[in-house]
Amino acid sequence: MVLLTLLAAITIGIIRMRNLFAVVVLGGIYSFLMASVMIVLDAVDVAMTEASVGAGISTVLMLGALYLTKTQETEPAHRLLLPFFVAVATGAVLVFGTFALPPFGAAETPMNLHVAPYYLENSIRDTLVPNVVTSVLSSYRGFDTLGETTVIFTAGIAVLLLLKGKRGVKPGPKRRRVRR
């Protein structure tokens, strides 16, 4: 509850801030809080990823992007009523959806009755790996993880194409004008 309150406070802070540097730092804090929420929910692997990617790498990349742009957000050009309405409506629908979820950690749910017991019982026998998260990710669901790795690969290549593609071109006067 404390963590969720802090998350809400930081979200409001991010919305109200106009200084993008502060927004990036608040985003890092948000990720750390989110990692703490994950630890409370016993999802240590996810918490680790959130702390390292969300708070670490993406903050650094955001700062790198800020270095290339202005650090002050411009005032919005039009009214924000429609986006506000869309956000509130989406949030309401999501909250409505959570009412149908089973209570946290309930054993009698389809999620915990389908293949999860098989993984928990046979992970050691099949793979000799005590951490079931690892054995599910890499072995039982190896194909999915291959897909995820390919997604990262594709994303990396796409960003490299966008950011590095111009370096081969000789810096002419035209390009300089675009940049400054």
């Binding site: 240590v44 692997d45 918490a47 680790m48 990823t49 390292s52 990617v53 670490g56 790498i57 650094v60 990349l61 790198g64 992007a65 270095y67 290339l68 026998r125 099949d126 793979t127 000799l128 790996v129 005590p130 951490n131 998260v133 690892t134 054995s135 990710l137 890499s138 072995s139 190896g142 194909f143 993880t145 291959l146 790795t149 390919t150 990262i152 690969f153 994303a155 990396g156 290549i157 960003v159 490299l160 950011l163 590095k164 370096r167």
Partner: protein
């Protein structure tokens, strides 16, 4: 940045431990939380930390961009290659059982190899994106 003695000394102390921690997360992923993805990010964070403190050129001397960019497809190649290996040894794609004398050990080895593939791709991608971000501009 070049004159910040404290940063430089602290970075020199920290960086080996970051690398060891990345490897710990990588190879202890079988027993505790962690795995290739997290380890790759920690390793990339080490490179980024080094680049922030000592400058981009020093970092690119230690970790050349060419090798970093090769790492991006190499990891996927390792992952897919392990799958093909299973195929060649007479099992389904991505079934690691025939990699060792008995199926369970084969699975274990397969997981370790596959996690290395994930590590290589993730670390390479993160560092490559960082390089291209910082190498741009001024």
């Amino acid at each position: 940045m070049k004159l910040d003695v404290i940063f430089r000394v602290v970075a020199k102390i920290f960086i080996p431990f970051m690398l060891v921690f990345a490897l710990y997360v990588q190879f202890h992923g079988d027993f505790g939380p962690g795995g290739g993805f997290q380890a790759g990010v920690v390793a990339a964070a080490m490179v980024i930390f080094y680049a922030i403190i000592f400058g981009l050129e020093a970092a690119q001397k230690v970790f050349p961009p060419r090798i970093i960019e090769l790492m991006v497809p190499a990891g996927v190649g390792i992952f897919a290659g392990v799958g093909v290996l299973g195929l060649l040894l007479g099992e389904n794609y991505l079934n690691y059982s025939p990699l060792a004398h008995d199926p369970a050990h084969g699975q274990e080895y397969g997981i370790i190899l596959v996690e290395i593939g994930v590590l290589v791709t993730v670390a390479g991608t993160m560092v490559a994106i960082f390089y291209s971000f910082i190498g741009r501009g001024r």
